[in-house]
């Protein structure tokens, strides 16, 4: 085989591998990326219905209810501005506690209840899942800008 053909073969082979890899990556990205929404965003209808996404915030104190004789639990996730009801059937992670950070993955029903397929609470006591912490922070910021705007308006 001539070296030129050999090199051409290698280039075609390399491009084929890259092409297949790119196709796989794009396809996987399209169908498997999970977006994150805060309870405030969900309340303002920004979150998609029927498509899985993640919601994060704090488990509202006093909201955890167990259904008798099953593994189904109901609780509310809050970012201190808005709350969203969540149901989940399964075992909760060790670090799931009322008043602590949580991230749940699932779909939003037309009744406004978030059906979680997975509940994540991570590594240690003081640690809040970054997404949850962010949701609370954003809600705080939104509220403080709102207050500023109203006081500013009142002054004029």
């Amino acid at each position: 085989m001539k070296p030129r053909y050999r090199r051409l073969g290698w280039i075609i082979g390399g491009l084929a591998v890259l092409g297949v890899a790119a196709a796989l990556v794009l396809n996987a990205f399209r169908s498997n990326l999970v977006f994150f929404y805060t309870p405030t965003q969900i309340a303002s209808k920004e979150a998609p219905q029927g498509r899985p996404f993640r919601v994060g915030g704090l488990v509202e104190t006093g909201s955890l209810v167990r259904e008798p004789n099953s593994l189904t639990v109901r609780f509310r996730v809050t970012d201190t501005a808005q709350t969203i009801p969540v149901t989940y059937t399964g075992l909760l992670p060790d670090l799931f506690k009322e008043g602590k950070g949580v991230v749940a993955q699932g779909t939003l029903g037309s009744d406004g209840v978030f059906r979680a397929s997975e509940v994540l609470a991570k590594h240690d006591e003081n640690y809040m899942p970054p997404a949850a912490a962010d949701a609370v922070k954003k809600a705080h910021e939104a509220m403080s800008t709102k207050t500023l705007v109203t006081t500013g308006g009142g002054g004029r």
Partner: protein, 665 residues
């Protein structure tokens, strides 16, 4: 006083490392033996100083010196001794110190085992490692001082994260770091070769054992981490495609490509530039992994903003190491040369294709790991890239690579005509295909994925047998044992490592295909059946542990009315932190695990009430880790090869063809 000694030792180590990084380089550039001679003693002195610092930190942990911030935040007087020692590398600062210690250890090992190296090459290798060490020591001293004092001293420590209070976690980080840091040797050899402009089969023979050993350590380290996650996280997964895991897996994939590329460079003098590039890449990914895990960037990219010193240092260091070495590569790769040519169908092509696939697979993991971080950093929204992405991209890319694993070792170097190759492999292929199609029916249920997985595993086994058979048939020695003994250790190491991959694939395939997972609510005395077994929950009993309270459950496992065993899963509540931990009870058999773990109490009374319990059957799951250990063992076996020990005497001989099939000789 002890922490100050440690701190002082670190400062001295930095000064020595600076000398180690500069003088030998100057010596090598101007051919000045006295300057080059600094390399050896400087490297050893630096190692001793870092070891002294490490010892001081360990002593502070063992002695419960809560006036040291690091100790106060990561230890506790109730903590058992072995975990107080392990806590030394449990924190950010401590783990970086361990990294630096390992680097010193590897450098010292190079000074000990490389007597035959030309002085200029050795000087350059040691100097490059010195610079890496300078980077880490600066980072330690200026942003992450492990010896920082706390005034006033804390009365009690905050405790080590309970997840880390586990024997697996005592040995996992050191072994993982042995691997990470070990790639610095291959990296330094490559940079030194680029500087010197000389890279040949001899160079490959010197750097090859170092790379293989580092790779073997990394393999064990990753396997231990995976095993640890399996039994302490309490939900039976062995790999989560978590960024922390990916951080260790990316250097592994690149390292795997590197050890194969080095083999070609040693045997055939080919792939030179590619080998150098892979060595740079493997170490860069090790650095990236260390920093991804250790900088807090995974917890929140905004950790960078809150602690800019660390973030900026890390980025600058990565830029200097990766950018600098790549620039050097771009400038000097021409002097190193590409090496010999080869045909489109040959062992070289199989290895090159394998390499490309491994690197592309690594890139897909890198993309999935970093993409969410970039989006978040640029405030373009928060996303998560979970296991479905990695499953969809990674397996299709790796399957052909594994198929080539069967072809490569049987194919001839340089030119392997297809018809001949096909004739050699037809039996292996036939046996693998037929068995893979039929075996799932025996195991219970046929699915395409199980068949594909089994085929790949069987293909490796049958081609390995075929390879050995042809070797023995082609040997001129008399007697079966003599024929076996004629093959080199590195040949057997390769076979063993490849069989390890097969064992690993069997584990992954069967556990993915046939596992049974049941999360159930069980009252005391209630039973549930899963996979032909009966699991009866007998309730939990409270009891004390050394630094925790435990709730120990009892679950009777029986089959066909016969009691097999009683499993005792545990729930631990740690005194110092109040954190809860789940310890699964696992009954390990050759054909798989019976896995029981406690979820949560569902009634108000956690002793007499119902519990949520996980009942899992994990067929052949242990084969995953056995496979990984076989791979590592293969690596160590390969390094024990005689030709590495007698490198000097054989230097002038033509490159021995130890792993080629006898027919190709």
């Amino acid at each position: 006083m002890i922490p100050e000694f440690g701190h002082f030792a670190l400062i001295l180590a930095l000064l020595v490392a600076l000398a180690q990084g500069t003088l030998p380089l100057i010596g090598a550039a101007f051919d000045e033996p006295r300057f080059m001679a600094v390399a050896r003693p400087a490297a050893r002195a630096q190692f001793l100083l870092v070891a002294l610092a490490f010892g001081c930190l360990a002593a502070s942990f063992v002695g419960n010196d809560f006036s040291v911030v690091n100790v106060a935040t990561n230890s506790n007087s109730e903590l058992p001794l072995r975990y107080r020692v392990a806590a030394t590398w449990g924190s950010h600062e401590g783990s970086l110190l361990l990294w630096t210690l390992m680097l010193g250890g590897w450098t010292t090992a190079v000074t000990v085992f490389s007597r035959n190296l030309p002085q200029a090459l050795l000087a350059r290798v040691i100097a490059v490692m010195g610079w890496v060490s300078v980077g880490f020591l600066l980072f330690l001293l200026f942003t992450s001082n492990p010896f920082e004092r706390l005034l006033p001293p804390a009365p009690e420590g905050r405790d080590l994260n309970p997840l880390l209070q586990d024997p697996g976690m005592v040995v996992h980080p050191p072994l993982l770091y042995m691997g990470y840091v070990g790639f610095s040797v291959a990296f330094s050899f490559s940079v030194a070769a680029l500087m010197g402009g000389r890279l040949d089969a001899t160079w490959a023979r010197w750097s090859r054992p170092w790379t293989t050993v580092a790779w073997a350590f990394l393999t064990i380290g990753i396997a231990l981490g995976s095993g640890w996650a399996y039994y302490t996280l309490g939900w039976g997964g062995w790999w989560f495609w978590d960024p922390v895991e990916n951080a260790s897996f990316m250097p592994w994939l690149t390292g795997t490509a590197l050890i194969h590329s080095l083999a070609v460079t040693e045997k055939r003098g080919a792939f030179r530039s590619w080998t150098v590039l892979l060595a740079i890449l493997a170490f860069s990914l090790s650095l990236l992994g260390t920093f991804l895990v250790r900088s807090g960037v995974l917890t929140s990219v905004h950790a960078f903003a809150t602690d800019p010193a660390r973030g900026v240092f890390i980025l600058a260091f990565l830029a200097v190491v990766i950018g600098g070495s790549l620039a050097l590569f771009a400038w000097r790769a021409g002097t190193v040369g590409l090496g010999g040519g080869f045909d489109l169908v040959s062992r070289e092509s199989a290895l090159l294709a394998n390499n490309v696939l491994l690197v592309v697979a690594m890139a897909s993991v890198l993309l999935g790991t970093l993409y969410p971080l970039f989006l978040d950093a640029l405030d373009l929204g928060k996303i998560s890239v979970g296991p479905p992405y990695f499953d969809a991209v990674f397996y299709p890319l790796l399957a052909p690579a594994i198929f080539l694993m069967g072809v490569g070792p049987v194919a001839r170097w340089s030119r392997a005509p297809l018809p001949e190759l096909a004739a050699r492999l037809k039996w292996a292929l036939g046996v693998a295909v037929v068995t893979a199609l039929l075996l799932p029916f025996v195991l219970g249920r046929w699915t395409p994925l199980v068949s594909v997985g089994l085929f790949l595993a069987l293909w490796i086994v049958t081609t390995t047998i075929e390879n050995l058979r042809q070797r023995i048939a082609g040997s001129h020695r008399r007697g079966f044992l003599a024929k076996l003994a004629a093959n080199s250790m590195s040949y057997y190491g390769m076979l063993l490592a490849h069989l390890g991959v097969a064992v690993f694939i069997v584990g992954v395939t069967l556990v993915k295909g046939y596992e049974i997972e049941q999360d159930v609510r069980l009252d005391v005395g209630q039973s549930v059946s899963a996979g032909g077994y009966e699991f009866k929950f007998l309730g939990v009993t409270p009891g004390p542990g050394p630094n925790y309270r435990a709730l120990t459950g009892s679950v009777e496992v029986s089959k066909d009315g016969k009691l097999l065993e009683t499993l005792h899963p545990e729930k631990r509540i740690y005194n110092a932190s109040g954190q809860t931990m789940t310890i699964a009870a696992i009954s390990t058999q050759v054909h798989g695990d019976r896995y029981v773990s406690l979820g949560e109490p569902l009634a108000n009374d956690d002793v007499t009430g119902a519990w949520g319990v996980r009942i899992y059957l994990k067929p052949f799951v242990d084969w995953i880790w056995v496979g990984a250990f076989l791979m590592a063992l293969g690596g160590f076996l390969a390094v024990s090869d005689r030709r590495y020990r007698f490198a000097v005497r054989r230097r002038e001989e033509p490159a021995g063809d130890a792993t080629a099939p006898a027919a190709a000789d």
